[in-house]
Protein backbone atom coordinates (compact mmCIF):
# COMPACT_ATOMS: atom_id res chain seq x y z
CA UNK A 1 0.00 0.00 0.00
CA UNK A 2 1.38 3.44 -0.95
CA UNK A 3 1.94 6.01 1.81
CA UNK A 4 -0.85 8.31 0.67
CA UNK A 5 -3.25 5.36 0.41
CA UNK A 6 -2.25 4.33 3.92
CA UNK A 7 -2.83 7.86 5.24
CA UNK A 8 -6.24 8.02 3.60
CA UNK A 9 -7.21 4.66 5.05
CA UNK A 10 -6.05 5.63 8.54
CA UNK A 11 -7.95 8.91 8.29
CA UNK A 12 -11.11 6.89 7.59
CA UNK A 13 -10.34 4.67 10.58
CA UNK A 14 -9.83 7.55 12.98
CA UNK A 15 -12.96 9.30 11.69
CA UNK A 16 -14.91 6.18 12.51
CA UNK A 17 -13.31 5.74 15.92
CA UNK A 18 -13.96 9.36 16.89
CA UNK A 19 -17.69 8.93 16.58
CA UNK A 20 -19.44 9.17 19.96
CA UNK A 21 -20.34 5.84 21.55
CA UNK A 22 -23.46 5.22 23.53
CA UNK A 23 -23.19 3.68 26.98
CA UNK A 24 -25.81 3.26 29.69
CA UNK A 25 -27.46 6.67 30.23
CA UNK A 26 -27.77 5.73 33.91
CA UNK A 27 -24.02 5.25 34.31
CA UNK A 28 -23.54 8.62 36.02
CA UNK A 29 -26.14 7.68 38.62
CA UNK A 30 -24.54 4.26 39.11
CA UNK A 31 -21.17 5.84 39.67
CA UNK A 32 -22.53 8.39 42.12
CA UNK A 33 -24.42 5.69 44.01
CA UNK A 34 -21.17 3.79 44.44
CA UNK A 35 -19.35 6.96 45.45
CA UNK A 36 -22.01 7.87 48.03
CA UNK A 37 -21.82 4.38 49.48
CA UNK A 38 -18.11 4.92 50.04
CA UNK A 39 -18.60 8.32 51.61
CA UNK A 40 -21.02 7.14 54.28
CA UNK A 41 -19.65 6.75 57.79
CA UNK A 42 -19.66 3.26 59.27
CA UNK A 43 -20.40 1.91 62.73
CA UNK A 44 -23.03 2.74 65.33
CA UNK A 45 -23.17 6.44 64.49
CA UNK A 46 -23.75 5.58 60.86
CA UNK A 47 -26.51 3.17 61.82
CA UNK A 48 -28.23 5.81 63.91
CA UNK A 49 -27.95 8.39 61.13
CA UNK A 50 -29.37 6.04 58.50
CA UNK A 51 -33.08 5.82 57.71
CA UNK A 52 -34.58 2.51 58.78
CA UNK A 53 -37.59 0.98 57.14
CA UNK A 54 -40.35 -1.23 58.32
CA UNK A 55 -43.13 -2.88 56.35
CA UNK A 56 -46.53 -1.59 57.37
CA UNK A 57 -50.03 -2.73 56.57
CA UNK A 58 -52.32 0.04 55.32
CA UNK A 59 -53.90 0.24 58.79
CA UNK A 60 -50.51 0.50 60.49
CA UNK A 61 -49.41 3.04 57.94
CA UNK A 62 -52.51 5.12 58.61
CA UNK A 63 -51.68 5.04 62.30
CA UNK A 64 -48.09 6.03 61.56
CA UNK A 65 -49.29 8.89 59.41
CA UNK A 66 -51.44 10.19 62.22
CA UNK A 67 -48.54 10.00 64.64
CA UNK A 68 -46.10 11.64 62.26
CA UNK A 69 -48.50 14.35 61.23
CA UNK A 70 -48.78 15.18 64.89
CA UNK A 71 -51.43 14.01 67.25
CA UNK A 72 -51.95 17.62 68.24
CA UNK A 73 -53.03 18.68 64.78
CA UNK A 74 -55.36 15.72 64.41
CA UNK A 75 -56.89 16.22 67.83
CA UNK A 76 -57.26 19.94 67.18
CA UNK A 77 -59.15 19.12 64.02
CA UNK A 78 -61.40 16.70 65.84
CA UNK A 79 -61.97 19.17 68.68
CA UNK A 80 -63.03 21.78 66.19
CA UNK A 81 -65.62 19.38 64.85
CA UNK A 82 -63.88 18.96 61.51
CA UNK A 83 -63.39 15.42 60.22
CA UNK A 84 -59.79 14.41 59.56
CA UNK A 85 -59.67 12.28 56.47
CA UNK A 86 -56.87 9.74 56.63
CA UNK A 87 -56.78 7.55 53.56
CA UNK A 88 -54.64 4.42 53.52
CA UNK A 89 -51.19 5.62 52.57
CA UNK A 90 -48.66 3.46 50.78
CA UNK A 91 -45.68 5.50 51.81
CA UNK A 92 -44.95 7.14 55.11
CA UNK A 93 -45.23 10.91 54.85
CA UNK A 94 -42.57 12.45 57.03
CA UNK A 95 -43.15 15.29 59.44
CA UNK A 96 -41.33 18.00 57.51
CA UNK A 97 -43.61 20.21 55.43
CA UNK A 98 -42.76 22.48 52.54
CA UNK A 99 -44.40 24.60 49.89
CA UNK A 100 -42.70 22.41 47.28
CA UNK A 101 -44.70 19.38 48.40
CA UNK A 102 -44.53 16.66 50.96
CA UNK A 103 -41.41 14.53 51.32
CA UNK A 104 -42.54 10.99 50.67
CA UNK A 105 -40.32 7.93 50.92
CA UNK A 106 -40.91 5.04 48.54
CA UNK A 107 -39.47 1.61 49.15
CA UNK A 108 -39.60 -1.26 46.69
CA UNK A 109 -38.21 -4.79 46.72
CA UNK A 110 -36.66 -5.91 43.43
CA UNK A 111 -33.57 -8.05 44.07
CA UNK A 112 -33.00 -8.95 40.40
CA UNK A 113 -33.21 -5.37 39.10
CA UNK A 114 -30.15 -3.48 38.00
CA UNK A 115 -32.01 -0.18 38.19
CA UNK A 116 -35.41 1.00 39.34
CA UNK A 117 -37.08 4.36 38.82
CA UNK A 118 -40.15 5.90 40.38
CA UNK A 119 -42.58 7.10 37.72
CA UNK A 120 -45.90 8.77 38.33
CA UNK A 121 -48.31 11.52 37.57
CA UNK A 122 -46.10 13.85 39.67
CA UNK A 123 -43.14 13.50 37.26
CA UNK A 124 -44.98 13.03 33.98
CA UNK A 125 -44.10 9.33 34.01
CA UNK A 126 -40.51 10.22 33.19
CA UNK A 127 -38.35 7.13 33.64
CA UNK A 128 -35.20 9.22 33.91
CA UNK A 129 -36.40 11.75 36.46
CA UNK A 130 -36.41 9.77 39.71
CA UNK A 131 -33.90 6.90 39.80
CA UNK A 132 -34.13 4.95 43.07
CA UNK A 133 -31.18 4.17 45.28
CA UNK A 134 -30.17 0.53 45.72
CA UNK A 135 -30.08 -0.68 49.31
CA UNK A 136 -28.82 -3.99 50.68
CA UNK A 137 -31.23 -6.92 50.36
CA UNK A 138 -32.61 -6.02 46.97
CA UNK A 139 -34.43 -2.96 48.27
CA UNK A 140 -34.71 0.30 46.35
CA UNK A 141 -35.50 3.64 47.92
CA UNK A 142 -36.17 7.20 46.97
CA UNK A 143 -37.51 10.19 48.84
CA UNK A 144 -39.19 12.89 46.78
CA UNK A 145 -41.46 15.85 47.36
CA UNK A 146 -44.95 15.24 46.08
CA UNK A 147 -47.70 17.88 45.97
CA UNK A 148 -50.81 17.34 48.04
CA UNK A 149 -53.51 15.39 46.27
CA UNK A 150 -54.11 12.03 44.69
CA UNK A 151 -51.38 10.59 42.47
CA UNK A 152 -50.87 7.42 40.47
CA UNK A 153 -47.43 5.86 40.38
CA UNK A 154 -45.46 2.76 39.43
CA UNK A 155 -41.94 1.42 39.59
CA UNK A 156 -40.03 1.11 36.32
CA UNK A 157 -37.60 -1.82 36.48
CA UNK A 158 -34.54 -1.86 34.20
CA UNK A 159 -36.17 0.74 32.00
CA UNK A 160 -38.84 -1.57 30.63
CA UNK A 161 -40.87 -3.49 33.21
CA UNK A 162 -43.60 -1.73 35.15
CA UNK A 163 -44.64 -2.89 38.59
CA UNK A 164 -47.24 -1.57 40.97
CA UNK A 165 -46.54 -1.10 44.66
CA UNK A 166 -47.67 -4.28 46.46
CA UNK A 167 -48.01 -2.28 49.68
CA UNK A 168 -50.45 0.19 48.17
CA UNK A 169 -53.95 0.23 46.70
CA UNK A 170 -54.15 -0.16 42.93
CA UNK A 171 -55.78 2.47 40.78
CA UNK A 172 -59.19 1.59 39.44
CA UNK A 173 -58.09 2.72 36.00
CA UNK A 174 -54.96 1.30 34.42
CA UNK A 175 -52.75 4.18 33.31
CA UNK A 176 -51.04 3.47 30.00
CA UNK A 177 -52.58 0.00 30.15
CA UNK A 178 -50.32 -0.86 33.08
CA UNK A 179 -50.91 -1.49 36.74
CA UNK A 180 -50.42 1.59 38.88
CA UNK A 181 -50.77 2.38 42.56
CA UNK A 182 -52.37 5.25 44.40
CA UNK A 183 -50.66 7.78 46.62
CA UNK A 184 -52.71 10.29 48.55
CA UNK A 185 -50.82 13.17 50.12
CA UNK A 186 -52.88 15.18 52.59
CA UNK A 187 -53.17 18.95 52.30
CA UNK A 188 -50.61 20.87 54.30
CA UNK A 189 -52.04 21.93 57.61
CA UNK A 190 -51.52 25.52 58.66
Amino acid sequence: MRDDDMDRKLAQVTDELRRPVSLDPWLDQRIMRAVRARSEPRGVVAWLRRTHWVALTPLQAAAALMLVAGAGGVLAGLAAGRPVAVEPPMAVVTAAMSDAGEPVAFLFHAPAASRVALVGSFNDWDGEAMPMEALPGGLWRIEVRVPAGRHAYSFLIDGEHWAHDPQAPRTAEEDFGRATSVLVVPEQRS
Binding site: M6, V13, R18, L27, R38
Partner: protein, 178 residues
Protein backbone atom coordinates in the same frame (compact mmCIF):
# COMPACT_ATOMS: atom_id res chain seq x y z
CA UNK B 1 -4.46 18.31 28.38
CA UNK B 2 -5.80 21.60 29.64
CA UNK B 3 -5.74 22.47 33.31
CA UNK B 4 -9.08 23.42 34.79
CA UNK B 5 -9.73 25.73 37.73
CA UNK B 6 -13.30 24.50 37.69
CA UNK B 7 -12.04 20.95 38.30
CA UNK B 8 -9.82 22.19 41.11
CA UNK B 9 -12.81 23.86 42.78
CA UNK B 10 -14.90 20.70 42.51
CA UNK B 11 -12.06 18.56 43.88
CA UNK B 12 -11.68 20.95 46.81
CA UNK B 13 -15.38 20.73 47.62
CA UNK B 14 -15.30 16.93 47.55
CA UNK B 15 -12.21 16.77 49.74
CA UNK B 16 -13.96 19.03 52.24
CA UNK B 17 -16.93 16.71 52.51
CA UNK B 18 -19.28 17.68 49.68
CA UNK B 19 -19.64 14.27 48.04
CA UNK B 20 -22.26 15.53 45.58
CA UNK B 21 -19.68 17.86 44.00
CA UNK B 22 -18.04 14.73 42.61
CA UNK B 23 -21.11 14.45 40.37
CA UNK B 24 -19.86 17.52 38.47
CA UNK B 25 -16.63 15.70 37.65
CA UNK B 26 -18.53 12.56 36.67
CA UNK B 27 -20.80 14.47 34.31
CA UNK B 28 -17.85 16.23 32.69
CA UNK B 29 -15.47 13.31 32.21
CA UNK B 30 -17.68 10.26 31.84
CA UNK B 31 -18.84 11.38 28.40
CA UNK B 32 -15.35 12.49 27.43
CA UNK B 33 -13.68 9.19 28.24
CA UNK B 34 -16.35 6.62 27.44
CA UNK B 35 -15.20 6.35 23.82
CA UNK B 36 -11.66 5.50 24.89
CA UNK B 37 -12.84 2.81 27.34
CA UNK B 38 -15.19 1.36 24.75
CA UNK B 39 -12.54 1.04 22.05
CA UNK B 40 -9.92 -0.26 24.47
CA UNK B 41 -12.16 -3.01 25.83
CA UNK B 42 -14.33 -3.76 22.85
CA UNK B 43 -17.74 -3.85 24.45
CA UNK B 44 -20.19 -1.70 26.36
CA UNK B 45 -20.37 -3.69 29.58
CA UNK B 46 -16.64 -3.78 30.20
CA UNK B 47 -16.32 -0.12 29.24
CA UNK B 48 -18.98 0.84 31.80
CA UNK B 49 -17.30 -1.25 34.50
CA UNK B 50 -13.93 0.31 33.73
CA UNK B 51 -15.32 3.83 33.85
CA UNK B 52 -17.11 3.17 37.13
CA UNK B 53 -14.00 1.63 38.69
CA UNK B 54 -11.85 4.52 37.49
CA UNK B 55 -14.17 7.12 39.00
CA UNK B 56 -14.35 5.23 42.29
CA UNK B 57 -10.57 4.90 42.46
CA UNK B 58 -10.29 8.61 41.68
CA UNK B 59 -12.76 9.46 44.44
CA UNK B 60 -10.92 7.32 46.94
CA UNK B 61 -7.57 8.81 45.98
CA UNK B 62 -8.71 12.42 45.69
CA UNK B 63 -6.99 13.57 48.88
CA UNK B 64 -3.66 12.49 47.43
CA UNK B 65 -4.11 14.48 44.21
CA UNK B 66 -1.51 17.24 44.36
CA UNK B 67 -2.60 19.04 41.18
CA UNK B 68 -6.41 19.13 41.33
CA UNK B 69 -6.51 21.36 38.24
CA UNK B 70 -5.17 18.34 36.34
CA UNK B 71 -7.93 16.02 37.52
CA UNK B 72 -8.84 15.10 33.92
CA UNK B 73 -5.38 13.85 33.01
CA UNK B 74 -5.10 12.02 36.32
CA UNK B 75 -8.46 10.32 35.81
CA UNK B 76 -7.43 9.27 32.30
CA UNK B 77 -4.26 7.66 33.66
CA UNK B 78 -6.38 5.71 36.16
CA UNK B 79 -8.76 4.66 33.41
CA UNK B 80 -5.92 3.68 31.07
CA UNK B 81 -4.42 1.54 33.82
CA UNK B 82 -7.80 -0.05 34.50
CA UNK B 83 -8.27 -0.83 30.80
CA UNK B 84 -4.74 -2.24 30.58
CA UNK B 85 -5.37 -4.68 33.41
CA UNK B 86 -8.61 -5.79 31.83
CA UNK B 87 -8.58 -7.85 28.71
CA UNK B 88 -10.39 -8.23 25.45
CA UNK B 89 -13.01 -10.45 27.03
CA UNK B 90 -15.20 -11.43 24.18
CA UNK B 91 -15.16 -11.35 20.46
CA UNK B 92 -15.94 -8.01 18.96
CA UNK B 93 -18.64 -9.44 16.79
CA UNK B 94 -20.47 -11.04 19.71
CA UNK B 95 -20.23 -8.04 21.95
CA UNK B 96 -20.76 -5.06 19.73
CA UNK B 97 -22.96 -5.96 16.87
CA UNK B 98 -26.00 -8.12 16.64
CA UNK B 99 -25.99 -9.69 13.19
CA UNK B 100 -29.79 -9.77 13.02
CA UNK B 101 -29.84 -5.98 13.30
CA UNK B 102 -27.56 -5.76 10.30
CA UNK B 103 -29.56 -8.03 8.12
CA UNK B 104 -33.08 -6.83 8.79
CA UNK B 105 -34.40 -3.58 7.42
CA UNK B 106 -31.19 -1.73 6.64
CA UNK B 107 -30.00 -0.29 3.38
CA UNK B 108 -26.91 -1.66 1.65
CA UNK B 109 -25.08 1.56 2.61
CA UNK B 110 -25.98 1.12 6.27
CA UNK B 111 -25.00 -2.53 6.19
CA UNK B 112 -21.69 -1.53 4.61
CA UNK B 113 -21.08 1.00 7.38
CA UNK B 114 -21.75 -1.62 10.02
CA UNK B 115 -19.40 -4.03 8.29
CA UNK B 116 -16.72 -1.33 8.14
CA UNK B 117 -17.06 -0.69 11.89
CA UNK B 118 -16.85 -4.41 12.55
CA UNK B 119 -13.66 -4.67 10.52
CA UNK B 120 -12.09 -1.77 12.39
CA UNK B 121 -13.12 -3.26 15.73
CA UNK B 122 -11.74 -6.65 14.80
CA UNK B 123 -8.45 -5.13 13.67
CA UNK B 124 -8.21 -3.07 16.87
CA UNK B 125 -8.89 -6.20 18.90
CA UNK B 126 -5.93 -7.95 17.29
CA UNK B 127 -3.52 -5.18 18.22
CA UNK B 128 -1.35 -5.77 21.30
CA UNK B 129 -2.79 -3.78 24.24
CA UNK B 130 0.00 -1.21 24.43
CA UNK B 131 -0.24 -0.51 20.69
CA UNK B 132 -4.02 -0.18 20.84
CA UNK B 133 -3.67 2.17 23.80
CA UNK B 134 -1.04 4.31 22.08
CA UNK B 135 -2.98 4.46 18.81
CA UNK B 136 -6.25 5.45 20.49
CA UNK B 137 -4.64 8.08 22.73
CA UNK B 138 -2.74 9.67 19.86
CA UNK B 139 -5.05 9.38 16.88
CA UNK B 140 -8.49 9.28 18.46
CA UNK B 141 -8.15 11.21 21.73
CA UNK B 142 -5.55 13.46 20.07
CA UNK B 143 -3.06 13.57 22.92
CA UNK B 144 0.50 14.78 22.33
CA UNK B 145 3.27 12.25 23.00
CA UNK B 146 4.36 14.07 26.17
CA UNK B 147 0.81 13.87 27.50
CA UNK B 148 0.62 10.21 26.55
CA UNK B 149 3.83 9.60 28.47
CA UNK B 150 2.24 11.09 31.58
CA UNK B 151 -0.90 9.03 31.19
CA UNK B 152 0.77 5.71 30.41
CA UNK B 153 4.11 6.01 32.18
CA UNK B 154 5.89 4.91 28.99
CA UNK B 155 8.66 6.88 27.30
CA UNK B 156 7.99 9.10 24.29
CA UNK B 157 10.15 7.11 21.90
CA UNK B 158 8.48 3.85 22.93
CA UNK B 159 5.08 5.44 22.40
CA UNK B 160 6.04 6.66 18.94
CA UNK B 161 7.15 3.16 18.02
CA UNK B 162 3.87 1.68 19.32
CA UNK B 163 1.82 4.15 17.30
CA UNK B 164 3.83 3.43 14.17
CA UNK B 165 3.42 -0.32 14.55
CA UNK B 166 -0.29 0.10 15.20
CA UNK B 167 -0.66 2.25 12.07
CA UNK B 168 1.24 -0.27 9.95
CA UNK B 169 -0.85 -3.15 11.28
CA UNK B 170 -4.19 -1.40 10.83
CA UNK B 171 -3.19 -0.24 7.35
CA UNK B 172 -2.38 -3.81 6.33
CA UNK B 173 -5.44 -5.31 7.97
CA UNK B 174 -7.84 -2.81 6.48
CA UNK B 175 -6.20 -2.41 3.08
CA UNK B 176 -8.95 -4.31 1.30
CA UNK B 177 -11.84 -3.08 3.42
CA UNK B 178 -14.41 -0.67 2.00
Amino acid sequence: MAESSEDAALVSRVVHGDTEAFGGLVRKYRKRYERYAYHMLGNQEDAEDALQDAFIRAYEGLRGLHQPERFGAWLLSILANRCRTSRWRRSVRDARFVPEQVEVGVTPDAAGAVEWREEISAALGELPLEQREAFLLHHVEELEYEEMAQVTGAGVSALKMRVKRARDFLGRQLAEAR
